[in-house]
Protein backbone atom coordinates (compact mmCIF):
# COMPACT_ATOMS: atom_id res chain seq x y z
CA UNK A 1 0.00 0.00 0.00
CA UNK A 2 2.81 2.33 1.04
CA UNK A 3 4.85 1.43 -2.06
CA UNK A 4 1.89 2.12 -4.32
CA UNK A 5 1.44 5.59 -2.80
CA UNK A 6 5.14 6.35 -3.32
CA UNK A 7 4.94 5.24 -6.94
CA UNK A 8 1.89 7.34 -7.60
CA UNK A 9 3.53 10.35 -5.98
CA UNK A 10 6.71 10.01 -8.04
CA UNK A 11 4.60 9.59 -11.18
CA UNK A 12 2.78 12.86 -10.46
CA UNK A 13 6.13 14.52 -9.82
CA UNK A 14 7.36 13.19 -13.12
CA UNK A 15 4.34 14.59 -14.96
CA UNK A 16 4.75 17.92 -13.17
CA UNK A 17 8.47 18.11 -13.89
CA UNK A 18 7.99 17.23 -17.56
CA UNK A 19 5.28 19.91 -18.01
CA UNK A 20 7.51 22.51 -16.34
CA UNK A 21 10.35 21.40 -18.56
CA UNK A 22 8.11 21.62 -21.64
CA UNK A 23 6.97 25.15 -20.76
CA UNK A 24 10.58 26.15 -20.17
CA UNK A 25 11.54 24.77 -23.58
CA UNK A 26 8.62 26.61 -25.21
CA UNK A 27 9.69 29.89 -23.67
CA UNK A 28 13.27 29.38 -24.71
CA UNK A 29 12.18 28.62 -28.25
CA UNK A 30 9.99 31.73 -28.28
CA UNK A 31 12.94 33.81 -27.05
CA UNK A 32 15.14 32.41 -29.80
CA UNK A 33 12.53 33.10 -32.49
CA UNK A 34 11.93 36.56 -31.06
CA UNK A 35 15.61 37.47 -31.30
CA UNK A 36 15.70 36.09 -34.83
CA UNK A 37 12.63 37.82 -36.27
CA UNK A 38 11.64 40.82 -34.15
CA UNK A 39 13.41 43.40 -36.31
CA UNK A 40 11.84 42.18 -39.54
CA UNK A 41 8.37 41.90 -37.99
CA UNK A 42 8.58 45.39 -36.49
CA UNK A 43 9.71 46.91 -39.80
CA UNK A 44 6.86 45.17 -41.61
CA UNK A 45 4.34 46.31 -39.00
CA UNK A 46 5.64 49.85 -39.39
CA UNK A 47 5.22 49.73 -43.16
CA UNK A 48 1.61 48.62 -42.71
CA UNK A 49 0.67 51.23 -40.13
CA UNK A 50 3.17 54.09 -40.47
CA UNK A 51 3.01 54.49 -36.70
CA UNK A 52 5.67 53.25 -34.33
CA UNK A 53 3.34 52.78 -31.37
CA UNK A 54 1.06 50.58 -33.46
CA UNK A 55 4.02 48.71 -34.92
CA UNK A 56 5.14 47.96 -31.37
CA UNK A 57 1.65 46.73 -30.38
CA UNK A 58 1.18 44.61 -33.48
CA UNK A 59 4.63 43.06 -33.19
CA UNK A 60 4.00 42.00 -29.61
CA UNK A 61 0.49 40.75 -30.58
CA UNK A 62 1.99 38.63 -33.34
CA UNK A 63 4.56 37.09 -31.02
CA UNK A 64 1.88 36.42 -28.40
CA UNK A 65 -0.13 34.62 -31.08
CA UNK A 66 2.99 32.67 -31.95
CA UNK A 67 3.37 31.67 -28.31
CA UNK A 68 -0.22 30.40 -28.25
CA UNK A 69 0.38 28.34 -31.42
CA UNK A 70 3.98 27.47 -30.86
CA UNK A 71 3.42 23.71 -31.08
CA UNK A 72 1.66 24.02 -34.45
CA UNK A 73 4.06 26.45 -36.13
CA UNK A 74 7.31 25.12 -37.54
CA UNK A 75 10.41 27.28 -37.68
CA UNK A 76 10.46 27.02 -41.47
CA UNK A 77 7.12 28.88 -41.67
CA UNK A 78 8.61 31.92 -39.97
CA UNK A 79 8.67 34.86 -40.34
CA UNK A 80 5.88 34.51 -42.96
CA UNK A 81 3.46 33.32 -40.28
CA UNK A 82 4.21 36.38 -38.13
CA UNK A 83 3.86 38.70 -41.15
CA UNK A 84 0.39 37.29 -41.84
CA UNK A 85 -0.62 37.93 -38.22
CA UNK A 86 0.61 41.52 -38.39
CA UNK A 87 -1.07 42.10 -41.75
CA UNK A 88 -4.43 40.87 -40.45
CA UNK A 89 -4.14 43.18 -37.45
CA UNK A 90 -3.27 46.13 -39.70
CA UNK A 91 -6.18 45.48 -42.10
CA UNK A 92 -8.54 45.30 -39.15
CA UNK A 93 -7.10 48.52 -37.72
CA UNK A 94 -7.48 50.52 -40.97
CA UNK A 95 -10.97 49.15 -41.55
CA UNK A 96 -12.00 50.27 -38.07
CA UNK A 97 -10.32 53.67 -38.44
CA UNK A 98 -12.02 54.21 -41.78
CA UNK A 99 -15.41 53.11 -40.41
CA UNK A 100 -15.08 55.65 -37.59
CA UNK A 101 -14.69 58.26 -40.35
CA UNK A 102 -11.71 59.82 -38.66
CA UNK A 103 -9.76 59.59 -41.87
CA UNK A 104 -12.11 59.66 -44.79
CA UNK A 105 -14.08 62.84 -44.12
CA UNK A 106 -12.18 64.84 -41.54
CA UNK A 107 -9.10 65.22 -43.70
CA UNK A 108 -9.72 66.46 -47.22
CA UNK A 109 -6.40 65.98 -48.97
CA UNK A 110 -6.32 69.16 -50.98
CA UNK A 111 -3.94 71.57 -52.60
CA UNK A 112 -1.04 69.27 -53.27
CA UNK A 113 0.65 71.86 -55.51
CA UNK A 114 1.64 74.68 -53.14
CA UNK A 115 4.37 72.99 -51.13
CA UNK A 116 6.95 72.48 -53.82
CA UNK A 117 9.16 75.27 -52.42
CA UNK A 118 10.08 73.09 -49.48
CA UNK A 119 10.76 70.12 -51.75
CA UNK A 120 12.99 72.25 -53.99
CA UNK A 121 14.80 73.54 -50.97
CA UNK A 122 15.29 70.09 -49.49
CA UNK A 123 16.45 68.56 -52.75
CA UNK A 124 19.05 71.31 -53.18
CA UNK A 125 20.65 70.51 -49.83
CA UNK A 126 22.36 67.30 -50.87
CA UNK A 127 24.06 66.79 -47.51
CA UNK A 128 20.75 66.09 -45.79
CA UNK A 129 20.01 62.50 -44.79
CA UNK A 130 16.47 61.03 -44.89
CA UNK A 131 16.08 61.51 -41.15
CA UNK A 132 16.88 65.24 -41.43
CA UNK A 133 14.44 65.69 -44.31
CA UNK A 134 11.73 63.84 -42.40
CA UNK A 135 12.21 66.04 -39.33
CA UNK A 136 12.18 69.24 -41.43
CA UNK A 137 9.12 68.19 -43.42
CA UNK A 138 7.14 67.14 -40.38
CA UNK A 139 8.10 70.32 -38.54
CA UNK A 140 7.57 72.89 -41.27
CA UNK A 141 5.07 71.28 -43.61
CA UNK A 142 2.97 69.34 -41.15
CA UNK A 143 3.50 71.83 -38.31
CA UNK A 144 4.30 69.06 -35.82
CA UNK A 145 6.12 69.89 -32.59
CA UNK A 146 9.19 67.96 -31.40
CA UNK A 147 7.14 65.61 -29.26
CA UNK A 148 4.93 64.62 -32.19
CA UNK A 149 7.94 64.14 -34.47
CA UNK A 150 9.55 61.97 -31.78
CA UNK A 151 6.44 59.78 -31.69
CA UNK A 152 6.46 59.50 -35.46
CA UNK A 153 10.16 58.73 -35.89
CA UNK A 154 11.14 56.93 -32.69
CA UNK A 155 13.95 59.45 -32.08
CA UNK A 156 14.39 61.29 -28.80
CA UNK A 157 13.41 64.94 -28.57
CA UNK A 158 17.05 65.84 -28.19
CA UNK A 159 17.88 64.02 -31.41
CA UNK A 160 15.01 65.81 -33.15
CA UNK A 161 16.38 69.13 -31.94
CA UNK A 162 19.84 68.26 -33.28
CA UNK A 163 18.44 67.03 -36.61
CA UNK A 164 16.38 70.23 -37.05
CA UNK A 165 19.33 72.38 -36.13
CA UNK A 166 21.67 70.56 -38.49
CA UNK A 167 19.09 70.54 -41.28
CA UNK A 168 18.34 74.25 -40.98
CA UNK A 169 22.01 75.12 -40.87
CA UNK A 170 22.62 73.11 -44.03
CA UNK A 171 19.63 74.70 -45.79
CA UNK A 172 20.85 78.12 -44.78
CA UNK A 173 24.34 77.47 -46.14
CA UNK A 174 22.87 76.03 -49.33
CA UNK A 175 20.68 79.07 -49.92
CA UNK A 176 23.25 81.70 -49.09
CA UNK A 177 26.12 80.12 -51.03
Amino acid sequence: METDKTNRSSGADYVFVSSVEREKNRRERLARLYDQHVHAVFRYAWRLTGRRDLAEDFTSEAFLALHRNLDQVEDARLPAWLFTEVRNLAIEYWRRASREQTLSEAAPFLRPDGSSSLVDLLSRATGLKPVHRICLTLRYLYGMDRQEIARQTGLSEHQIKSALQYGLELLRRELTS
Binding site: V38, R43, L48, F63, F109, P112, T137, R172
Partner: protein, 299 residues
Amino acid sequence: MKETKRAANNMPHEDPEHQERLLMVETGIDPAVWREQGHPPPSLLVASREDVLPQPLAERVTSHIELCPSCTRLLEDLLDPDVACPTLGEITRIRRRLPMPSPPQRPWKTLALIALTLVTAALSIVAVRTLSSGPISPQFVAPMPPGPPAPPGLVFRIPVEPAPLKLPPASTLAWRSQDGGPDQAYLVELGQALKPYREGRYREAAVRLQSLASQYPQSVEAPFYAGVSHLLAGDALFALEWLTKKPLVRSHPLYDDQLWYRAAALEQTGQWAEARDLLRQLCKLSGGYQQKACQLSKR
Protein backbone atom coordinates in the same frame (compact mmCIF):
# COMPACT_ATOMS: atom_id res chain seq x y z
CA MET B 1 26.66 91.01 -23.96
CA LYS B 2 27.30 87.56 -25.35
CA GLU B 3 24.08 87.72 -27.37
CA THR B 4 24.99 91.13 -28.80
CA LYS B 5 28.40 89.85 -29.80
CA ARG B 6 26.87 86.81 -31.44
CA ALA B 7 24.35 88.90 -33.33
CA ALA B 8 27.12 91.17 -34.49
CA ASN B 9 29.10 88.24 -35.83
CA ASN B 10 25.95 86.79 -37.38
CA MET B 11 26.78 83.39 -35.89
CA PRO B 12 24.21 80.62 -36.13
CA HIS B 13 22.36 79.97 -32.92
CA GLU B 14 21.77 76.59 -31.36
CA ASP B 15 18.04 77.09 -31.07
CA PRO B 16 16.10 75.88 -34.15
CA GLU B 17 13.56 78.71 -33.83
CA HIS B 18 16.37 81.23 -34.04
CA GLN B 19 17.80 79.45 -37.07
CA GLU B 20 14.36 79.49 -38.60
CA ARG B 21 14.26 83.29 -38.23
CA LEU B 22 17.74 83.58 -39.73
CA LEU B 23 16.69 81.42 -42.67
CA MET B 24 13.72 83.68 -43.21
CA VAL B 25 15.78 86.87 -43.11
CA GLU B 26 18.62 85.61 -45.28
CA THR B 27 16.61 83.86 -47.96
CA GLY B 28 13.34 85.69 -47.98
CA ILE B 29 11.44 82.42 -47.55
CA ASP B 30 8.93 82.32 -44.75
CA PRO B 31 8.72 78.81 -43.26
CA ALA B 32 5.15 79.56 -42.22
CA VAL B 33 4.22 79.49 -45.92
CA TRP B 34 5.17 75.85 -46.04
CA ARG B 35 2.69 74.92 -43.37
CA GLU B 36 -0.34 73.90 -45.29
CA GLN B 37 -3.39 71.90 -44.52
CA GLY B 38 -4.61 69.02 -46.56
CA HIS B 39 -1.75 66.53 -46.60
CA PRO B 40 -2.52 62.96 -45.54
CA PRO B 41 -0.87 62.00 -42.24
CA PRO B 42 2.49 60.22 -42.62
CA SER B 43 0.96 56.97 -41.38
CA LEU B 44 -1.46 56.94 -44.32
CA LEU B 45 1.32 57.74 -46.78
CA VAL B 46 3.32 54.73 -45.61
CA ALA B 47 0.37 52.35 -45.38
CA SER B 48 -0.87 53.28 -48.86
CA ARG B 49 2.02 51.29 -50.33
CA GLU B 50 1.03 48.02 -48.70
CA ASP B 51 -2.51 47.40 -49.87
CA VAL B 52 -4.03 47.40 -46.39
CA LEU B 53 -6.18 50.53 -46.64
CA PRO B 54 -9.86 50.33 -47.53
CA GLN B 55 -10.30 50.97 -51.26
CA PRO B 56 -11.75 54.54 -51.37
CA LEU B 57 -9.24 55.83 -48.85
CA ALA B 58 -6.34 54.11 -50.63
CA GLU B 59 -7.36 55.73 -53.95
CA ARG B 60 -7.52 59.21 -52.45
CA VAL B 61 -4.15 58.90 -50.73
CA THR B 62 -2.49 57.47 -53.84
CA SER B 63 -3.86 60.21 -56.09
CA HIS B 64 -2.66 62.85 -53.60
CA ILE B 65 0.83 61.36 -53.53
CA GLU B 66 0.98 61.38 -57.33
CA LEU B 67 0.31 65.13 -57.38
CA CYS B 68 2.20 66.21 -54.26
CA PRO B 69 6.00 66.39 -54.50
CA SER B 70 6.36 67.01 -50.75
CA CYS B 71 4.47 63.85 -49.82
CA THR B 72 6.31 61.83 -52.49
CA ARG B 73 9.62 62.91 -51.04
CA LEU B 74 8.50 62.38 -47.46
CA LEU B 75 7.27 58.89 -48.32
CA GLU B 76 10.60 58.00 -49.94
CA ASP B 77 12.41 59.13 -46.80
CA LEU B 78 10.02 57.35 -44.46
CA LEU B 79 10.59 54.10 -46.34
CA ASP B 80 14.34 54.32 -45.78
CA PRO B 81 15.38 51.08 -43.99
CA ASP B 82 17.19 53.00 -41.22
CA VAL B 83 14.08 54.98 -40.36
CA ALA B 84 11.92 51.87 -39.98
CA CYS B 85 14.37 50.08 -37.69
CA PRO B 86 13.10 49.47 -34.16
CA THR B 87 14.95 51.25 -31.38
CA LEU B 88 16.41 49.46 -28.37
CA GLY B 89 13.60 50.87 -26.22
CA GLU B 90 10.93 49.50 -28.55
CA ILE B 91 12.56 46.07 -28.67
CA THR B 92 12.78 46.00 -24.88
CA ARG B 93 9.15 47.05 -24.42
CA ILE B 94 7.91 44.38 -26.84
CA ARG B 95 10.00 41.76 -25.06
CA ARG B 96 8.54 42.71 -21.68
CA ARG B 97 5.03 41.89 -22.91
CA LEU B 98 5.95 38.34 -23.91
CA PRO B 99 6.20 35.26 -21.70
CA MET B 100 9.89 34.72 -22.20
CA PRO B 101 12.87 34.28 -19.91
CA SER B 102 14.33 37.72 -19.25
CA PRO B 103 17.69 38.34 -20.88
CA PRO B 104 20.43 36.79 -18.76
CA GLN B 105 21.59 39.05 -15.95
CA ARG B 106 25.31 38.91 -15.56
CA PRO B 107 26.51 39.98 -12.14
CA TRP B 108 29.73 38.14 -12.92
CA LYS B 109 30.31 40.57 -15.74
CA THR B 110 30.67 43.48 -13.32
CA LEU B 111 32.97 41.43 -11.11
CA ALA B 112 35.03 40.39 -14.12
CA LEU B 113 35.30 44.03 -15.22
CA ILE B 114 36.49 45.09 -11.76
CA ALA B 115 39.01 42.25 -11.70
CA LEU B 116 40.19 43.12 -15.21
CA THR B 117 40.56 46.78 -14.26
CA LEU B 118 42.62 45.86 -11.19
CA VAL B 119 44.84 43.51 -13.19
CA THR B 120 45.28 46.15 -15.92
CA ALA B 121 46.14 48.79 -13.32
CA ALA B 122 48.66 46.47 -11.65
CA LEU B 123 50.25 45.59 -14.98
CA SER B 124 50.34 49.27 -15.98
CA ILE B 125 52.21 50.12 -12.77
CA VAL B 126 54.67 47.30 -13.47
CA ALA B 127 55.02 48.53 -17.06
CA VAL B 128 55.66 52.13 -16.05
CA ARG B 129 58.24 51.06 -13.46
CA THR B 130 59.92 48.74 -15.92
CA LEU B 131 60.02 51.35 -18.65
CA SER B 132 61.29 54.08 -16.39
CA SER B 133 63.99 51.91 -14.82
CA GLY B 134 65.60 50.43 -17.90
CA PRO B 135 65.06 48.19 -20.87
CA ILE B 136 61.84 46.25 -21.16
CA SER B 137 61.84 42.90 -19.47
CA PRO B 138 61.42 40.10 -22.01
CA GLN B 139 58.66 38.63 -19.85
CA PHE B 140 56.55 41.78 -20.02
CA VAL B 141 53.40 41.35 -22.06
CA ALA B 142 50.65 43.94 -21.91
CA PRO B 143 47.08 42.71 -21.32
CA MET B 144 45.65 42.49 -24.80
CA PRO B 145 44.40 39.86 -27.18
CA PRO B 146 47.24 37.84 -28.68
CA GLY B 147 48.27 38.97 -32.17
CA PRO B 148 49.80 36.84 -34.89
CA PRO B 149 53.31 35.48 -34.22
CA ALA B 150 56.03 38.03 -34.84
CA PRO B 151 58.83 37.36 -37.31
CA PRO B 152 62.25 36.75 -35.77
CA GLY B 153 64.02 39.95 -34.80
CA LEU B 154 60.82 41.98 -34.43
CA VAL B 155 59.41 40.99 -31.07
CA PHE B 156 57.61 43.72 -29.20
CA ARG B 157 54.18 44.25 -27.79
CA ILE B 158 52.80 47.77 -27.52
CA PRO B 159 50.84 48.19 -24.30
CA VAL B 160 47.37 49.61 -24.88
CA GLU B 161 45.55 51.61 -22.27
CA PRO B 162 42.56 53.94 -22.69
CA ALA B 163 43.71 57.12 -24.42
CA PRO B 164 43.34 60.28 -22.32
CA LEU B 165 40.39 62.45 -23.29
CA LYS B 166 41.64 65.53 -25.10
CA LEU B 167 38.62 67.50 -26.21
CA PRO B 168 38.47 70.95 -27.80
CA PRO B 169 38.30 73.73 -25.18
CA ALA B 170 34.82 74.71 -26.42
CA SER B 171 33.45 71.35 -25.26
CA THR B 172 33.29 72.52 -21.64
CA LEU B 173 31.18 75.50 -22.71
CA ALA B 174 28.93 73.28 -24.79
CA TRP B 175 27.76 71.43 -21.69
CA ARG B 176 27.09 74.50 -19.62
CA SER B 177 25.64 76.89 -22.11
CA GLN B 178 22.93 76.85 -24.69
CA ASP B 179 24.83 79.07 -27.10
CA GLY B 180 28.19 77.51 -27.76
CA GLY B 181 28.48 78.23 -31.48
CA PRO B 182 28.06 76.17 -34.64
CA ASP B 183 29.96 73.14 -33.34
CA GLN B 184 27.94 72.89 -30.19
CA ALA B 185 25.74 70.05 -31.39
CA TYR B 186 28.82 68.05 -32.33
CA LEU B 187 30.49 68.69 -29.00
CA VAL B 188 27.41 67.78 -27.01
CA GLU B 189 26.97 64.57 -28.99
CA LEU B 190 30.69 63.83 -28.67
CA GLY B 191 30.41 64.13 -24.89
CA GLN B 192 27.49 61.71 -24.89
CA ALA B 193 29.22 59.26 -27.24
CA LEU B 194 32.30 59.26 -25.01
CA LYS B 195 30.31 58.29 -21.93
CA PRO B 196 30.52 54.52 -22.61
CA TYR B 197 34.23 55.02 -23.38
CA ARG B 198 34.78 56.57 -19.96
CA GLU B 199 32.85 53.71 -18.39
CA GLY B 200 34.90 51.06 -20.16
CA ARG B 201 32.13 49.88 -22.54
CA TYR B 202 34.36 50.06 -25.58
CA ARG B 203 32.24 48.20 -28.11
CA GLU B 204 29.28 50.50 -27.47
CA ALA B 205 31.58 53.52 -27.54
CA ALA B 206 33.01 52.42 -30.89
CA VAL B 207 29.57 52.12 -32.46
CA ARG B 208 28.40 55.51 -31.17
CA LEU B 209 31.60 57.30 -32.12
CA GLN B 210 31.59 55.77 -35.60
CA SER B 211 28.09 57.01 -36.20
CA LEU B 212 29.07 60.46 -34.94
CA ALA B 213 32.13 60.49 -37.21
CA SER B 214 29.89 59.70 -40.20
CA GLN B 215 27.46 62.43 -39.21
CA TYR B 216 30.25 64.99 -38.83
CA PRO B 217 32.84 64.10 -41.52
CA GLN B 218 35.11 66.99 -40.47
CA SER B 219 35.41 65.74 -36.91
CA VAL B 220 38.77 64.58 -35.64
CA GLU B 221 38.03 63.34 -32.13
CA ALA B 222 35.19 60.97 -33.06
CA PRO B 223 37.17 58.78 -35.53
CA PHE B 224 40.21 58.78 -33.23
CA TYR B 225 38.33 57.63 -30.14
CA ALA B 226 36.33 55.18 -32.30
CA GLY B 227 39.65 53.62 -33.35
CA VAL B 228 40.94 53.50 -29.77
CA SER B 229 37.65 51.94 -28.62
CA HIS B 230 37.95 49.24 -31.27
CA LEU B 231 41.51 48.58 -30.18
CA LEU B 232 40.50 48.29 -26.53
CA ALA B 233 37.64 46.00 -27.55
CA GLY B 234 40.11 43.74 -29.36
CA ASP B 235 39.16 44.65 -32.96
CA ALA B 236 42.54 45.75 -34.28
CA LEU B 237 41.52 45.75 -37.94
CA PHE B 238 38.60 48.11 -37.34
CA ALA B 239 40.86 50.17 -35.09
CA LEU B 240 43.40 50.55 -37.85
CA GLU B 241 40.73 51.63 -40.31
CA TRP B 242 39.44 54.37 -38.00
CA LEU B 243 42.86 55.51 -36.81
CA THR B 244 44.05 56.04 -40.39
CA LYS B 245 40.83 57.71 -41.52
CA LYS B 246 41.83 61.21 -40.44
CA PRO B 247 45.61 61.82 -40.41
CA LEU B 248 46.38 64.70 -38.06
CA VAL B 249 48.77 67.58 -38.42
CA ARG B 250 51.74 67.63 -36.07
CA SER B 251 50.45 70.56 -34.06
CA HIS B 252 47.22 68.75 -33.15
CA PRO B 253 47.00 67.69 -29.47
CA LEU B 254 46.04 64.17 -30.54
CA TYR B 255 48.91 63.74 -33.02
CA ASP B 256 51.16 61.69 -30.70
CA ASP B 257 48.23 59.65 -29.44
CA GLN B 258 47.13 58.82 -32.96
CA LEU B 259 50.63 57.60 -33.89
CA TRP B 260 50.90 55.49 -30.75
CA TYR B 261 47.53 53.79 -31.12
CA ARG B 262 48.03 53.32 -34.85
CA ALA B 263 51.34 51.63 -34.08
CA ALA B 264 49.55 49.38 -31.58
CA ALA B 265 46.88 48.50 -34.15
CA LEU B 266 49.55 47.75 -36.76
CA GLU B 267 51.42 45.58 -34.30
CA GLN B 268 48.27 43.67 -33.39
CA THR B 269 47.49 43.03 -37.04
CA GLY B 270 50.97 41.68 -37.66
CA GLN B 271 52.44 44.71 -39.46
CA TRP B 272 55.48 44.96 -37.21
CA ALA B 273 57.77 46.85 -39.60
CA GLU B 274 55.17 49.61 -40.10
CA ALA B 275 54.50 49.71 -36.38
CA ARG B 276 58.21 50.10 -35.67
CA ASP B 277 58.42 52.97 -38.19
CA LEU B 278 55.70 54.82 -36.30
CA LEU B 279 57.44 54.13 -32.99
CA ARG B 280 60.63 55.60 -34.42
CA GLN B 281 58.70 58.71 -35.44
CA LEU B 282 57.30 58.98 -31.93
CA CYS B 283 60.79 58.49 -30.50
CA LYS B 284 61.94 61.61 -32.32
CA LEU B 285 59.11 63.69 -30.85
CA SER B 286 59.21 65.07 -27.36
CA GLY B 287 55.76 63.89 -26.35
CA GLY B 288 54.58 61.66 -23.56
CA TYR B 289 55.13 58.53 -25.63
CA GLN B 290 58.78 59.28 -26.48
CA GLN B 291 60.50 57.12 -23.88
CA LYS B 292 58.26 54.10 -24.39
CA ALA B 293 58.46 54.41 -28.17
CA CYS B 294 62.27 54.65 -28.14
CA GLN B 295 62.61 51.57 -25.97
CA LEU B 296 60.15 49.53 -28.03
CA SER B 297 61.57 50.58 -31.41
CA LYS B 298 65.07 49.53 -30.38
CA ARG B 299 63.96 45.98 -29.78
